[in-house]
């Protein structure tokens, strides 16, 4: 198999706070290959957005990073800021949850694009304009609206504009942090279809960060489940959904309310405070299968099936 486009090895991101370091990402490893989509799911405070920020190199100053985050052979964590800036927006692009707050209300849509293109490439204004028109047209935005301002567009159109902007430089890796969370379910479906098409057309890799397991099932090849700063399970989507190993993944899958739900299921307790995470397995205070060893010993990251990893002392029992 070819080298991955993005690989994390024991990646740690610790924020500095008054109460001590927050272990937002605490030693995770994964690999994302060309043309693949990796879904990272987790609940509020699991560290999934921090992971996205680390890939873009936009963690707040004073944040401590450890381990490796390798993009095409370069460790992003140690790359000089200048080089990182050249990558960012060109080879690695990002789309955010709320497109309204990410577009400058005082700039027309066309100016947003021209700025992005000129920041990375020396091309004529005409060439940049042509590329802008093509990028927007591919997202179904009429050329007649180039001179409009962000507030003149609907939510779905804004998100399509954001995607068009992220793609205008033909990135190799697209990081999408909850790209459809602020959208209605029909528009969400439209955006997901667009992302699918793009992936197929350009062999782009997609790192999709979401709390919505339904979306992961529909568009991802691989999924990583985050809990309290750690990946607790990682593997091919089919394996993780059909034969989950970690009790947290099982609980999360059961708690989704979908059209075929027969009963309401929830996970007891609350996610831990990441300044003082629990000893042993971080999920043990909420785990229905907890044993003594879980309270004292950190479980190992074991490959239970080809490419299917889990962080649980009793993983074998759940196979």
């Amino acid at each position: 198999m070819s080298d991955p486009v993005l690989a994390a090895r024991r990646l740690k991101v610790h924020y500095r706070t008054k109460r001590g370091p927050v272990h937002a990402v605490d030693g995770i490893s994964f690999a994302l290959h060309a043309g693949e989509t990796l879904g990272v799911v987790g609940e509020t405070g699991s560290g999934k957005s921090t992971l996205g920020k680390a890939v873009l190199g936009i963690v707040p100053p004073g944040t401590k990073t450890e381990g490796e985050l390798v993009f095409e052979g370069k460790n992003l964590l140690t790359l000089p800021e200048g080089e990182l800036r050249r990558l960012r927006g060109k080879d690695i692009a990002l789309i955010f949850q709320d497109p309204m707050t990410r577009l400058d209300p005082l700039m027309t849509i066309e100016d947003h694009f021209l700025e992005t293109i000129h920041a990375h490439e020396k091309v004529s204004r005409e060439e940049a304009r042509a590329r802008t028109r093509a990028a927007l047209a591919s997202m179904g935005i009429p050329v007649s609206r180039l001179k409009n301002y962000p507030h003149e567009f609907s939510g779905g159109m804004r998100q399509r504009i954001m995607i068009a902007m992220a793609l205008v430089m033909r990135p190799k890796l697209l990081v999408a942090d909850e790209p459809t969370t602020s959208l209605d379910v029909i528009v969400e479906g439209q955006i997901l279809e667009i992302l699918e098409d793009l992936k197929r057309a350009y062999r782009m890799s997609l790192l999709l960060i979401t709390h919505n397991l339904g979306i992961v099932a529909e568009v991802c090849d691989t999924v990583g489940v985050m809990y309290a700063g750690l990946l607790v399970e990682y593997g091919p989507v089919r394996d993780v959904f059909k034969r989950p190993i970690h009790p947290y993944t099982r609980g999360l899958l059961a708690s989704i309310i979908h059209l075929d739900s027969r009963e309401l299921v929830s996970i007891d307790g609350l996610p831990p405070d990441l300044v003082t995470p629990p000893q042993g397995c971080r999920f043990h205070p909420r785990c229905p299968y907890v044993q003594d060893v879980c309270r004292t010993t950190v479980p190992e990251w074991v490959e239970y099936r080809p490419g299917h990893f889990a962080l649980c002392h009793f993983g074998r029992d759940f196979l």
Partner: protein, 472 residues
């Protein structure tokens, strides 16, 4: 059987739109947001009634108008046998004890300067129902009941110190403490993590059983609604498009919009990646809602009578313009997009002489500016028919058209050409749109595309439920 606890009849709510003062003077009918339009339903005691729709469909406004947190423009609200539509504030206050609301965002619904316990006890004090000690005792009691335990300890915590789930429990406790009959729950679990949603829904169901509550459950999530609602109303752009027993609606959705909503929900099963047929586009602007059936521009099965209108044709032009080559051809024939005007059911396209280049037009402009041109001498001077017609189109020289046979012939030829082109474009349109065009005619230098007038189908009873669609 007892009578309904709530009856809503023909409820209407418009919100005025802010426009500049000058425009306000000029426009006879100021624009409004059509948030709720002619909504009627009634609730039996103990029922959970779901109001489901996308953002901007008016579901939240409807919920608030029912409680008169928002004043209706028209219609009637009868709560527990009392017409509260025009009830004055002091009387309304007494009734409000029986009707409470749970807001979507628990982080914003609690006063950050009050402890959890104070917030929960506050309604008793506001309504002058208890002394402070009694209020505290009752608050502690209800806190235990909604799962905020140990209550004594949490009573003195501030909202910032507790989790989202606990905040939502506090909001529910605050709504419950007055022992209401009706609770409007506006997206009560949308802001919560998946793993705790079920807990909050279970709590709501428990409380309902115990106290015989009636809920209006407002949500965008059809899966959650299916789980807890007895009856469901699907809203689209201010109107109910389908309403009935939830089991019926989920088993066999009738309205194409309901079908689309159900089909769009992602299923957490990698073995079932469905080939979705999503409706195109988004919910249109509620200031200028589509005529006829509000869903017609997005509807996959729309018929010519569903309300196709001139701006659907403009939409079609915009879609065509996504392909650069087609855009150039369209603009060449029809002129720039702003040459197209809408009056009533008619689309008017100003014909343009494509034979006239910009340089030639500028040359003519210069001549006119020099003041050396009389209409009569123009023809002789330039000597080219197309130029004359171009100039006429440019400056609206109607006099020229009337006095000059060459010119009027040209206008006819040009208009005929545009008319043919319009027919061609229509062939690339949805069949329903084409059929909704009644006539393509020429009037002077304009091509008129006339559309059949549309009508709203209204809610009709089909298989024990009501549906607003011409298919039934």
């Amino acid at each position: 059987m007892t009578g309904p606890i709530l009856e809503v009849d023909g409820l209407v709510k418009y919100f005025p739109v802010k426009i500049p003062a000058v425009q306000r003077v000029l426009i006879r009918e100021p624009p409004v947001v059509h948030a709720v339009e002619d909504v009627s339903f009634s609730l039996s005691p103990g029922e959970i009634f779901g109001i489901v729709g996308e953002s901007g469909c008016g579901k939240t406004t409807l919920g608030r108008t029912v409680l008169r947190l928002v004043e209706p423009n028209d219609g009637r609200i009868v709560f527990d046998g009392v017409d509260i539509t025009h009830l004055r504030e002091p009387d309304l206050r007494t009734i409000r004890r029986s009707m409470q609301i749970i807001f979507q965002d628990p982080h914003a619904a609690l006063n950050p300067a009050m402890t959890i316990g104070e917030s929960i006890a506050d309604p008793l004090l506001i309504h002058g129902l208890s002394t402070e000690e009694e209020a505290k005792a009752k608050a502690l009691e209800i806190m235990t009941e909604v799962g905020l335990s140990p209550a004594e300890q949490l009573y003195t915590k501030y909202p910032a110190d507790v989790s989202g789930g606990q905040k939502q429990r506090a909001v529910i406790a605050r709504a419950m403490i007055l022992r209401p009959k009706l609770i409007v729950a506006d997206e009560p679990v949308a802001m919560l993590d998946m793993s705790i949603r079920a807990k909050i829904l279970e709590l709501m169901l428990e409380l309902k059983e115990k106290y015989g509550l009636t809920y209006i459950f407002i949500t965008h999530d059809l899966a959650t609604a299916k789980f807890i609602c007895d009856r469901i109303a699907i809203m689209y752009l201010g109107r109910i498009v389908e309403v009935g027993d939830s089991s019926d609606i989920y088993r066999e959705p009738k309205h194409p919009y309901t079908q689309a909503l159900l089909g769009a929900i992602p299923v957490p099963d990698p073995d079932r990646p469905r080939a979705k047929t999503l409706p195109k586009g988004e919910v249109p602007d509620a200031i200028h809602p589509p005529s006829g059936c509000r869903f017609h521009p997005r509807c996959p099965v729309a018929t010519p009578t569903c309300g196709w209108e001139p701006r659907d044709f403009l939409e079609l032009l915009d879609q065509r313009a996504l392909d650069d080559a087609i855009r150039v051809r369209d603009e060449h024939a029809l002129g720039p997009r702003d040459r197209v005007r809408i009056t009533g059911d008619t689309l008017r396209i100003r014909s343009m002489d494509p034979g006239l280049t910009r340089r030639e037009r500028r040359f003519l402009l210069a001549l006119v500016a020099l003041g050396s041109l009389a209409v009569g001498s123009l023809h002789a001077l330039v000597g080219i028919g197309t130029l004359a017609s171009g100039l006429a189109a440019l400056f609206g020289f109607d006099a020229l058209a009337r006095s000059d046979p060459v010119r009027s012939g040209l206008v006819e030829r040009e208009s005929g050409r545009v008319r043919e082109y319009v027919r061609g474009i229509l062939q690339s349109a949805p069949e329903a749109l084409t059929k909704a065009v009644r006539n393509v005619a020429v009037a002077g230098s304009e091509v008129l595309v006339e559309f059949a007038p549309s009508s709203d189908p209204g809610l009709r009873t089909v298989d024990g439920r009501e549906v607003r669609c011409v298919l039934y």
